[in-house]
């Protein structure tokens, strides 16, 4: 699937595909021609992705083929032992977690899973977690604290689920509780926005010592569509809202809300899983190593100072 603004890339890609069909085993000048086409494609992608508008970035961040937490786990971890349930009400498939091994580091991984096919998407509520999801996340964080494991959260959600049941079971309380407990947790926390960092649903697992974003991820207090329909009284003004809200990784880094951007391969994470995993793993390992050297008490007081400073001006 290619996005609106990738039309010309799609044309070249069609050409490449046709060329490959006609020349299954190209030699000599044909190899050169294929290389030319692929360079053309790559240059186009580079150019397009170098100057994505915020609204285009939203579309990349929401791309149906964008890697999800389970892809990251598979690509980064040599072992994953999934843990289920909040010990209170249920097991939220939209929020998963478990023990994992990254190189020789044992960690706790937690994050939203949007789902790949329709069946999984429905099972996962499209990555919109319910209170039991946030409570499962908290339980696993507390377990990580007890076991001295760093926590890594993968954030990718349109928002917390806005359903009647979710509301009745305390969506607000569950997110609020996580914010409070995460700020005081005595083990390292790394939060990484991989796709959509949607509002309270994102920050509900986003209180990290280090907060990262993939370069084409977005992070916002409200969806551009939602903002547009409230402040522009016109849901189609999402592109304007996306501009105004400053939701791209570059803007968020400038606002000092995140610590670092993980650059995606040319053409976005969905075009190159292996490259995305490699880049992500490298950055995660760097921070795990550094954070592990800090005492738990020092960590939580630093984390408090970090968030206390957000939005403190002059």
């Amino acid at each position: 699937m290619s996005l609106d603004f990738e039309k010309e890339v799609a044309d070249v890609e069609a050409k490449i595909a046709e060329f490959k069909t006609q020349n299954p085993e190209p030699t000599g000048v044909l190899v050169k021609e294929l290389n030319r086409l692929e360079t053309e494609r790559s240059d186009m992608l580079k150019k397009i992705y170098a100057s994505l508008t915020p609204w285009q970035t939203v579309q990349v961040a929401r791309h149906p083929e964008r890697p999800l937490i389970r892809d990251f786990i598979q690509g980064i971890c040599s072992e994953f032992i999934e843990l289920h349930g909040d010990r209170l009400f249920g097991d939220d498939h939209g929020m998963i977690g478990g023990f994992a091994m990254i190189d020789d580091h044992r960690v706790m991984i937690i994050g939203q899973q949007k789902g790949k096919d329709l069946e999984e998407k429905i099972k996962c509520n499209f990555g919109q977690a319910c209170p039991e999801g946030y409570r499962k996340a908290l339980r696993l964080m507390k377990l990580a604290e007890k076991f001295n494991l760093p926590v890594i959260t993968f954030i990718d959600t349109p928002g917390a689920f806005p359903g009647r049941d979710a509301e009745e079971r305390g969506q607000a309380e569950a997110i609020a509780r996580n914010l409070l407990e995460m700020s005081a947790l005595k083990t390292p926390i790394i939060a990484l926005v991989t796709g959509e960092g949607g509002s309270g649903g994102a920050i509900g697992i986003g209180v990290g010592d280090i907060v990262l974003m993939l370069s084409n991820a977005v992070y916002s207090v409200i969806s551009p569509e939602g903002c547009a329909s409230i402040l522009w009284r016109d849901g189609t003004k999402a592109d304007e809202a996306a501009n105004a809200l400053k939701i791209t990784s570059k803007s968020i880094l400038q606002l000092k809300i995140i610590d670092e951007i993980i650059p995606e391969p040319v053409g976005g994470a969905h075009r190159d899983y292996a490259g995305t995993m490699k880049a992500t793993k490298k950055v995660l390992l760097k921070h795990i190593t550094t954070l592990k050297k800090i005492t738990p008490r020092k960590l939580s007081s630093r984390r408090f100072e970090k968030f206390a400073a957000m939005g403190r001006f002059k």
Binding site: R164, A172, A176, S199, I203, V221, L255, G311, F313
Partner: protein, 280 residues
């Protein structure tokens, strides 16, 4: 009862009082009520028990010993980190207007005072200032209130009245959720009591942060309290929601509010709870 101290700038005496000086109308049931009675009833409708929104001064007067409430960070003000503009113009202009209208610099007043002799820190949100929205200045002030409480070993009371995060400050406003909760974690670490009072409305990012992590949760009758908006939920589940959905009473039944307290009883109840919390 006369918790509402007289306004300092009394209306200039004119010959004959105007109709709107004598009568007011309940916003909920539309009943016509003597203004004097309305004020005596602390802006609560006798007919339908609707609790009208109050200004922060009215709340402070209602709850605190006369003249004891002193703001601790009156200079902390709104910010415009995004240089935000929407279809109606720049956020900065709107904020300046709101300052002029309310005499506030942000959507919350934070200070310290006494409730029947017990010293307490208190943050009072005011819906008049941009719908009581949570922005960087709001978060900073609520945090400073917690730190003040810790420094002076006082309990902390936050009175919420907010539609949620202020979009105009984008991601910075979202970060006020963890920021305020982190401050409350510090308060907990210091083993100090925190009472959250939810008034109409307490929704969105405010309900999903400091309002919902109190030792004690008190709500005013019939207040709207919830995370997602009714319309969004109805669109999601393709169903009509019950009328009392997200009311204070509904929240009690679902386990998230300890008690509903009428405005006229709030000061006494806070005093009693603070005593149970070991404050003096």
């Amino acid at each position: 009862m006369a918790w509402f101290h007289k306004s300092k700038e009394a209306a200039p005496k004119s010959e004959a009082p105007k109709k709107e000086d004598i009568w007011t109308q309940c916003p909920a049931c539309k009943a016509h009520i003597y203004k004097e009675e309305w004020d005596r009833n602390l802006k609560v409708c006798d007919r339908c028990h609707f609790h009208e929104r109050l200004t922060w001064e009215e709340r402070a007067n209602l709850l605190m010993d006369e003249g004891t409430f002193v703001e601790i960070c009156p200079k902390v003000s709104w910010n415009d980190p995004l240089k935000f503009s929407d279809s109606k113009g720049p956020y900065a202009e709107k904020a300046i207007e709101n300052c002029a209208k309310t005499g506030m610099k942000e959507s919350v007043a934070v200070g310290s005072g006494k409730i029947k002799g017990i010293k307490t820190s208190m943050a009072i949100m005011d819906f008049r200032f941009m719908g009581g929205s949570l922005a960087s200045g709001t978060g900073e002030k609520i945090l400073l209130g917690a730190l003040y409480a810790i420094k002076h070993k006082q309990p902390y009371i936050i009175i919420s009245a907010s539609g949620g995060a202020r979009m105009h400050e984008g991601i910075v406003s979202l970060m006020q959720m963890p920021k305020t909760c982190a401050a409350l974690a510090q308060l907990r670490e210091a083993n100090l009591p925190y009472i959250s009072i939810m008034t109409d409305p307490t929704t969105g990012g405010v309900s999903a942060s400091f309002a919902m992590v109190g030792d004690i949760h008190i709500a005013e009758p019939r207040s709207l309290i919830g995370f997602a908006g009714r319309r969004v939920i109805e669109e999601t589940i393709k169903q009509k929601l019950p009328d009392d959905f997200q009311t204070a009473e509904y929240l009690v039944e679902h386990g998230f509010v300890d008690m509903i307290v009428h405005r006229k009883d709030m000061r006494e109840m806070l005093f009693k709870i603070l005593k149970y919390a070991g404050c003096r």
